[in-house]
Symmetry: C2
Subunit: 344 residues, 2 copies
Amino acid sequence: MPSRSRRSQTVKVRDVAREAGVAVGTVSRVLNDHPAVTRELRERVKGAMAHLGYEVDVTAQSMRAGRSRLVACAIRDFDIPRFALFIKEAEAVLREAGYTLLLASTTNRPAVEISLLGAFRRRRVDGVMMTLSDEEHRDVREALSEAPMPILLIDRDRIEALDRVTADHRQGARLATSHLLGLGHRRIAMLVGDIKAFPSRSRMEGFRAACSAAGITPDPRLLRENVLSSEDAYRATASLMSLANPPTALFVAAMDMLGGCLRALRTMNIAVGDGISVVAGSDSDLAELHTPPITAIEWDLAAMGRHAATMLLERMRGDEIERGRGLTVPTQLIIRGSSQPLAN
Amino acid sequence: MPSRSRRSQTVKVRDVAREAGVAVGTVSRVLNDHPAVTRELRERVKGAMAHLGYEVDVTAQSMRAGRSRLVACAIRDFDIPRFALFIKEAEAVLREAGYTLLLASTTNRPAVEISLLGAFRRRRVDGVMMTLSDEEHRDVREALSEAPMPILLIDRDRIEALDRVTADHRQGARLATSHLLGLGHRRIAMLVGDIKAFPSRSRMEGFRAACSAAGITPDPRLLRENVLSSEDAYRATASLMSLANPPTALFVAAMDMLGGCLRALRTMNIAVGDGISVVAGSDSDLAELHTPPITAIEWDLAAMGRHAATMLLERMRGDEIERGRGLTVPTQLIIRGSSQPLAN
DNA sequence: CGGAGTCAATGAACCGGTTCATCAAAAGTC
DNA sequence: GACTTTTGATGAACCGGTTCATTGACTCCG
């Protein structure tokens, strides 16, 4: 059937009403399961709908209702493998509740974040889950405060007015660092991502907390920030291992950067575990199946996705809830062969 | 500013028109860059918009225009890491063209696929990119043929009327199999996913083609279909290696299944390369950085995403193009240490 | 039996844009 | 200078649902 003719002959509430011999308002009531319709009419209307092959136009519903049943998710970059778990679970919860997920990537740029917020607003999106490249950015904060729909932050914590779901990166980094210190390491290098964002910031805090608890002052030359890609991790690792006094342990604290780090060590012929201890900031098949397997920090991203969607749904429902609720999922350290006692 | 009061005082075209002292039609023209507006009025209207903080309501536009500027992407399961690359690139191309991406997962079930098509239609989605669990499924085919918007298939090839973007899995599998045969292997086990879907089907074809070219008849006990998760791969590998006459080479031809396979081999203390040769159906950090590194098939998923989005955009534009265009990206074999000559 | 109250059903108005028939003014033509 | 054509601007009608004031029928109660 050619689409042109279909379009012109789509069935509307009026047609259903005529077919069933009722008013359009009654058809609308049936569509929305309004109780004030007699069983008989309800059946008749449903029969007419089935007979004519009627389908509601969600656009028209949205326009009148002022809500779209769309929820947007904007994250830095959704080719981060484990992050897909978050999205998957969130989508499942949202779809269950009748919402459809809109996806966009911010590429970690404030300007994109702001323009996306505008696009979501123009689409009358009912709720937003997102990360932010810089929580202190003036224009971003302004755009957030002007947004008419609820916004939930993913792994960000600095904007008190907004709900958020975070992982306890501070704790994870503290565990990892203490573990390495307990093995005798003193020269521990750390690779983190954008220090303006909560995850890297709190990992750094955890690292420093563990160091100072052990009475150690970290060597600033061993701390590398802004490691945002696997290539960055490669370069940072190569640079660290070329120092006159290289680290004895490497804490690759950013997500999904382990590959670049291991690649550099392999290129330089440095044995993991033996030549240098390695701890990864997030778990993966790679960490688990590497030789030796890599000690890693782990947390439940699927649960984060579920919680995020659930909290956002509550907020969209307009329940009277205090502003800026936070939920934190715990992190844990999985100790494997890549972290070894310091030789001699 | 409380959101309730905002909602009631949103600025509309009427307000802009009044402020600028023009008709609503003129405001609409300015919004849509219609040429028949004098520079002076255009400026005045834009000034009024800026002054009042006007923002179009995309919902209202969609309703009148009959199109939503939404494109839906539905795939089996978007926690397949490398697949995220496809989505990322597709989203970038679509956003550039003014479209927003809707995301949903089909969980590989025909019923879900059909219901999603309904949901997309009700939302007046302008185009769809999707995978299918079973291209021969009657109800799915019917739902596809009744869809009023263009649909592009991702890595599926059986529905002639629809555009498609595929990878040359047949070639990849042929290369991998020939490589193993060339190393002397005769008992080659193969793990594939759902044989009803194009990727697994064509991988199997490539495998058989390579075997028969070498005059070899594959042992059916070594062919395991329906390996859909890492756990399935674990079980299949364990079962294969427990055979009285186990394979000497393992072709893990499904995407992202390598982890489960390697886990099983490690549990059973079978050395990769030495005890058994392994070839992976898709590349990954794990394949590259494993000891020994894993020979793998590789193709450009980012390019697939770009092509898919571009082809769909052309189709949505209504260009007069022949139906059912297909684009295939090549596959190649990256030979690494996990595939070794058969001992003795 | 009359009046209040309940309930189902009605259909016009509305949501916020776009479209298009219509018109006035300016430009072009002879 | 009169007539045609072009161009810019107008605003009512429309897209396809939902909402709500109104109506008519029926129930309840004194």
